[in-house]
């Protein structure tokens, strides 16, 4: 199993974290990564607009398991998985609008579980870090190490 890299995009479309775990994707300059993150932010918004069907209304059954009804149900979700011939990109948008992009091999199972675990790491080591300012690039050593451990254990 190969995880190529992880991007975190803030709610205003800025790239706040990028990390390469495994070679296999093109090397770009950090400026290029910033531009890609910004344009992806816009494309994600367009994929929401293009939704041909109204999102499935919530049935009481599906709500039963959730701790509290989210104000975001009933809205189109936007891009979740992008497939290309070389990689597969999973996008997970949190309720606060931060996007986690994880690039893996095309035939990678259970990426959604992984990305949620990464979100947990983010919540633990970045959001709980008193020296971190939101919307700013993430420079937290513990988060880096946590990611390393997590990705290595799984591969």
């Amino acid at each position: 199993m190969v995880v190529f890299c992880l991007f975190i995009i803030s709610k205003s479309g800025g790239l706040i974290y990028n990390r390469e775990f495994h070679a296999g994707m093109s090397k770009l300059t950090s400026n290029d990564y910033l531009m890609l993150a910004g344009s992806f932010h816009g494309m994600h918004a367009i994929t929401k607009q293009l939704c041909p069907v109204p999102p499935t209304p919530v049935t009481p059954l599906s709500v039963a398991g959730a701790p509290a009804p989210s104000p975001f149900i009933g809205r189109p979700s936007g891009l979740e998985v992008l497939e290309s011939s070389h990689f597969r990109m999973q996008c997970f948008q949190t309720l606060t609008g931060i996007k986690f992009l994880l690039f893996t091999e095309p035939q990678q199972p259970n990426v959604d579980v992984m990305i949620r675990r990464i979100y947990e790491l983010y919540a633990d080591y970045v959001m709980k870090n008193p020296f971190y300012t939101v919307e700013m690039p993430i420079r937290c050593e513990k988060f880096d190490r946590g990611l390393d451990g997590f990705v290595k254990v799984r591969s």
Partner: protein, 164 residues
């Protein structure tokens, strides 16, 4: 399996053919009214009604064009964009060597339709549009694409290969 729509773009970024299939009836039990207070963000479903077919086609072209460029930048020049999926729909993409783009929107359960889009190009578009002596070489405004044989072939293909 449901197919929502199908678009062909030529190499001049123009939509030369688009086709929509009827969406399944919307369930009457609409969203709870409590959601209506949260629509200040602007991306609620009501936004959809303001867009015409042409606008949709333009949006889709811009989107697949940028996604394709992004994929090529990240994965190298020989990487091709295949499809993307949201929670509500899936978009399939096929590009011919002449830069014509075939795009199809389906429900999320559909497997990759690249092969099917290739067949539409090879068996329908080439046969009925390219080989048609009355149709021009380029198709500004979609002239010559939406002929009877092509449309009927497309309908037959969709019902035969992609049964609902």
């Amino acid at each position: 399996m449901t197919i929502y729509s199908f678009y062909i773009f030529d190499r001049h970024a123009e939509c030369i053919y688009n086709r929509r299939w009827a969406a399944p009836p919307v369930p009457k039990s609409a969203r709870p009214m409590s959601g209506s207070s949260m629509t200040s963000n602007g991306d609620h479903p009501a936004v959809r009604k303001g867009l015409s077919r042409e606008d949709d086609a333009k949006l889709i072209f811009g989107l697949v064009f940028s996604l394709r460029n992004m994929v090529q930048k990240l994965g190298g020049d020989d990487d091709t964009f295949l499809s993307y999926r949201t929670a509500e729909y899936k978009l399939h993409y096929y590009e011919t060597p002449t830069r014509m783009k075939f795009v199809m929107l389906t429900d999320t359960k559909q497997n990759n339709l690249r092969v099917a889009l290739h067949q539409i190009w090879a068996n329908l578009y080439v046969e009925y549009v390219v080989k048609n002596p009355l149709s021009p070489v380029e198709h500004p405004g979609g002239i010559g694409v939406a002929n009877e044989l092509f449309e009927r072939g497309l309908d037959a293909f969709v019902t035969a290969v992609l049964p609902s």
